[in-house]
Symmetry: C2
Subunit: 205 residues, 2 copies
Amino acid sequence: MDKNLKRMATMQRLQVTGLELFYRNGYYNTSIDDILKELSLSKGAFYHHFDSKEDFFVQIIQNLVVRKMYTMLIEPIEGHENSLELITNCFENALETAVHNELDFGFILGNFISEFNGKNPMIMKHLSDILKIWEVNLVSVIQKGKFNGYIDRHVDSEGVAVFLISSYMGIRTFMVENTPSARKYRFMIQLRQYFKSIAAKKEIV
Amino acid sequence: MDKNLKRMATMQRLQVTGLELFYRNGYYNTSIDDILKELSLSKGAFYHHFDSKEDFFVQIIQNLVVRKMYTMLIEPIEGHENSLELITNCFENALETAVHNELDFGFILGNFISEFNGKNPMIMKHLSDILKIWEVNLVSVIQKGKFNGYIDRHVDSEGVAVFLISSYMGIRTFMVENTPSARKYRFMIQLRQYFKSIAAKKEIV
DNA sequence: TTAATAGTAGACCAAGCGGTCTGTTTAAAC
DNA sequence: GTTTAAACAGACCGCTTGGTCTACTATTAA
């Protein structure tokens, strides 16, 4: 095989498995040997491709996490239809994959933020940046919703974004603890309730 | 000093410092030596009082965390006044202590749940129990609010509780990441907005 | 005063960690 | 075919971890 392709393939395999394990067991609780064992690779291979465990993790964030974030939580809410409906569907889908215990990149962020908070400012910076992307996109979608007449013009777009991100990260933590499907269901109903309250009041003019 | 008093005092000191460090650095990332160093105590002292690190942690949960949970998040919302107002004030206060980086026991729970999820079912059970206490109390307060005419009788009390716990744990994670005070402010406004939407509609009869 | 025991100190251990280093295999370049 | 460098294997190192064990000290009961 072409050397460069082989390099890419190995790095990709390491990163995918790495994220999987970091997600399941946490960063500090996952050893490099754990990842290597899963792939039947050696220390030599790992340190040939990555400088350190930290460098490895940062690359995972920048490659896998950012990309998935876009496809799961950002792209689905872009468009010119009803913003609130788009966000609702997006959350619905994201939480549904979470019910089935698949990788959920909104949740991953929250998890890692708790883990690295106060310990590794450099990694925190990277996590913050991604969260910021999500936040900025939410704000702009909400503002679009105001212009399009779907959302009440008096609401604070920034505030809604903060509230949405919070409740999403929160329900995800709460879902791992017990009865994920039932909690998702209840959560979505209350989210719709909240959305109704910030929707534009019809024909008051 | 009386031996039994001394025993209690040492155990208490260990637990308080232990919780502090576990909260700041995580359970797996805090060594027993870290705690011992802080108090200038030895391994001998520790293992004379506790069977293991795990046993130590469980005792912290059962003593400190449960108690603080009551004083911070449960007792403040008991009473016969407007439930929604009580909860609002309670969240306001709890988040304010969080802004000042003090121990926040609602957040502690969320943090530990992420950390132990899938790793230590026994500890997860203990954390779940505490969360359940919070949840049950919220539900009963909300139901009281319905009876008292403060909350719309059609809302799902269980759902509201899920939504509240989620958003609380979520905003706490989000607050550690950046500008805690501003985010708290924005969050509270949206929470009030949500509360308004589930409040009993006045004199429609 | 003495015997017994709770409390404490800290050397020690095996296991696991991130990371290094040397040697071997593999594949592209000539 | 030979050379060269990338890809990989795995022994090894220094350090930290949770936990044990033996010895010393302080306190209480007799």
